[in-house]
């Protein structure tokens, strides 16, 4: 009687493992794909060394003047020298600790909110932080209460970009919720007004709205009562953004199963209770990824304030290269701003993808 002895597992066939087989399977599996691969490699060979040389190997990082920098590589010395302008604009250097503190506080608040346990009045504490934080941030950035006032025309750079984007999203949020609810309202007039507002604004380019805010808005006020330029831009952006937020939230509202409405009615909740306690929280939760997406879009659009003469990070390129000392360095400036904005936007879009996966599992029938 033969005794069964287990044989050691055989190795995978030689043609299925290793670098060569990976290449064969993924890059050279047919004549056409081989051709494409070779063309792609050639294109990479043309572009990458060129870029790498310009950005790193031929570039200057030392603190030297424009002339000493040379023309074959990038002159990062310029960006380094002007870095304060890129980040804070004309904010007085001795007061730069204030925006820095605002940022630190934001991080602290996010950390506190994240580490709270659900049974410790989490929602109330977060709501409190959301109300208090903007007040503190405004006092720190603008001044008042003993702090020296720093007018908004001194704000600029990345700081201004972030302020405009954040204020835009926060201020448009409540308006967007109201518009979304209005669009679903049973009252005809309210529904019509909301629809007209949303469709009207969404059909326009942001730049015409910014123009309107900067040239038409002042006509509504008496002469001499000049409104802050930044404030006007913020009003324009909020008007614009609230239409988009409204559509995002409407999407969330529509995703709520009918049973939720019926159940809320059945236990005798009135409209406000039903909306505030049952429908909106769920709708907002579903909308979070899209709200982040809309924030990303707003962050990109924020660069348009350049056109009405506010000095965000992009305007700084123009401003710093008009400086006689750094003439002709705008490519470096644009590339630098691209890298900064790309890193911010790419991490946000990654985050929004993560959120989407996280919330994807719910409300699936």
């Amino acid at each position: 009687m033969a005794i069964f002895t287990a044989q050691p597992a055989k190795n995978a066939p030689q043609s299925e493992v290793g670098v060569v087989s990976w290449l064969k399977k993924n890059l050279f599996y047919s004549l056409g794909s081989s051709a494409f691969t070779l063309i792609a490699i050639y294109v990479i060979y043309l572009i990458v060394p060129l870029l790498a040389n310009w950005m790193f190997f031929d570039a200057t990082f030392a603190p030297v003047t424009n002339e000493q920098c040379g023309r074959e590589g990038a002159c990062w010395s310029y960006v380094i020298e002007k870095s304060n302008l890129f980040v804070y604009g004309f904010y007085p250097p001795e007061a730069v600790w204030r925006p820095q503190l605002v940022l630190v506080l934001a991080l602290v608040f996010v950390f506190v909110a994240k580490s709270l346990k659900p049974y410790t009045h989490k929602a109330k504490i977060i709501a409190g932080l959301i109300v208090i934080y903007p007040v503190i941030a405004f006092l720190l950035l603008y001044g008042g209460l003993g702090l020296e006032v720093i007018e908004t025309h001194q704000w600029g750079g990345l700081m201004l970009t972030i302020v405009v984007a954040t204020v835009g999203i926060v201020a448009s949020f409540p308006i967007g919720i109201l518009l979304a609810l209005g669009r679903q309202s049973k009252m005809r007039v309210i529904r019509l007004l909301s629809v007209v507002y949303i469709e009207f604004i969404r059909g326009l380019p942001l730049i015409t709205i910014l123009f309107m805010a900067s040239v038409v808005l002042p006509l509504f006020f008496r002469e001499g009562m000049d409104m802050d330029k930044l404030l006007r831009a913020l009003i324009g952006i909020t008007l614009f953004q609230s239409a988009y937020i409204a559509e995002v939230i409407r999407g969330g509202l529509q995703a709520i199963p009918k049973g939720q409405h019926e159940a809320a009615d059945a236990i005798g909740l009135n409209f406000v209770q039903k909306t505030g306690l049952i429908i909106l929280p769920q709708a907002l939760k579903i909308s979070i990824p899209n709200i982040v997406g809309s924030f990303i879009a707003l962050f990109k659009d924020t660069t348009l304030v350049l056109i009405i003469g506010l000095f965000d990070i992009l305007s700084m390129v123009h401003l710093t290269t008009s400086d006689e000392l750094w003439l002709g360095r705008s490519t470096e400036g644009y590339v630098f701003v691209m890298i900064v904005l790309w890193v911010i936007l790419y991490s946000m879009s990654r985050y929004s993808k993560k959120l989407e996966l996280k919330y994807n599992t719910e409300h699936k029938v």
Binding site: S33, T208, F211, K300, L306, G328, Y334, L341, W342, S349
Partner: protein
């Protein structure tokens, strides 16, 4: 509000449209000079907006389709490159891209005297691209008429043979007929009429080129940036569409013995496009709206010349902004109308 306007010494009403504009515009497709009216400026800007949007839409669609399909390629390198392209250009603000390409074009391109040349008739320099301009003479219309006739006949012929194939299973190769109808016929008419078409070549006179047709660096960088940026969104829409086609469809197509190419063309793309087309049309609208950013580099489109220059001259902000907004609203309404029609046409016809 009216009293506020009056106290600032600004007139109201649309009378300013009849007034002489008094400034020059760099690019115009209809007759224009500094003695033209402000209304004329409006038309020039409007036409330029439509032209740059149309060019952008065509190129964005082509690039987007290629990149969207490439992203799902089995070829690892091609798929990664397409993904990298999307992640790179989608996450940089479009205004920054426009300014960057414009600035780069101005830095890289040579002065008119050292232009890059192609066949002695196309010149590239920092004032733009100069090309021969076709000049039509009497009778050229007939060539166009015959061309259109040929295309119509070709479509009818194709339909006839497709029907025949469906009914009898007999395939007919229509390529030679098609070539004859679409190429042969117009060309022979062209020569019969004695070549009623000539070209005006650009020539270097003094500091700049005269004659011919030219595309300014403003137009080129705007169209380029808009296409590159919008293409990333179109590519993503196409990818999402292709991924939405259930795997069973692909397997069934391959099981029936269709080749990769056939299954893509006959089974997957028709279903994918149904999902992709609505977001793509929305991107067309976005592209058109984004063309207003030309104001930053001075391409003579609507916002730049009308809501910019004219507004600065006459100061009638309310009227001008309203007219500008009306244009974009009309475009957006037309596009959503098209979207609705397309949606109705493409919706699944269940049985």
């Amino acid at each position: 509000m009216l009293s506020n306007i009056e106290s600032r010494g600004i007139q109201t009403g649309f009378g300013f449209l009849e007034a002489e504009s008094g400034f020059d515009i760099a690019e115009y497709l209809i007759d224009y000079s500094s003695t033209s009216t402000n209304l004329r400026v409006f038309y020039v800007g409007l036409i330029n907006t439509l032209v740059v949007s149309a060019v952008g839409i065509v190129f964005a669609s082509i690039i987007g389709l290629i990149v969207g399909i490439a992203r799902l390629s089995n070829n690892w390198l091609i798929a990664k490159l397409a993904g990298g392209y999307i992640e790179l250009f989608r996450n940089i603000p479009i205004l920054l891209q426009i300014l960057f390409w414009y600035n780069l074009a101005l830095m890289v391109l040579p002065h008119p005297k050292q232009s890059f040349e192609l066949f002695d008739s196309v010149f590239v320099n920092l004032r733009g691209i100069y090309m021969p301009k076709p000049i039509t003479e009497n009778g050229f219309v007939w060539v166009l008429v015959v061309l259109i006739l040929g295309i119509v006949l070709k479509i009818l012929l194709k339909r006839y043979y497709n029907n025949k194939k469906d009914n009898t299973g007999i395939k007919t190769n229509t390529l030679s007929y098609s070539l004859l109808l679409v190429v042969g016929l117009p060309v022979s008419v062209y020569f019969l009429l004695g070549s009623p078409l000539s070209f005006d070549y650009p020539t270097l006179k003094g500091f700049n080129f005269k004659g011919g047709m030219s595309l300014s660096p403003e137009f080129l960088s705007l169209a380029f940036a808009l296409s590159i940026y919008t293409a990333t969104y179109i590519a993503e829409a196409i990818r999402a569409g292709i991924e939405s086609v259930s795997k069973g469809q692909k397997e069934a197509a391959l099981a029936m013995g269709l080749t990769q190419k056939q299954s893509l063309k006959l089974v997957i793309l028709p279903q994918a496009l149904r999902v992709s087309i609505p977001p793509i049309i929305n991107q067309y609208l976005n592209l058109t709206k984004n063309s207003s950013l030309a104001a930053a580099i001075g391409y003579s489109e609507l916002v730049s010349v009308f809501a910019g220059t004219v507004l600065n001259q006459v100061g009638q902000a309310v009227e001008i902004i309203l007219m500008t907004m009306a244009v974009y609203l009309t475009i957006s309404l037309v596009i959503s109308l098209i979207l609705n029609i397309v949606n109705r046409q493409m919706s699944v016809k269940g049985r």
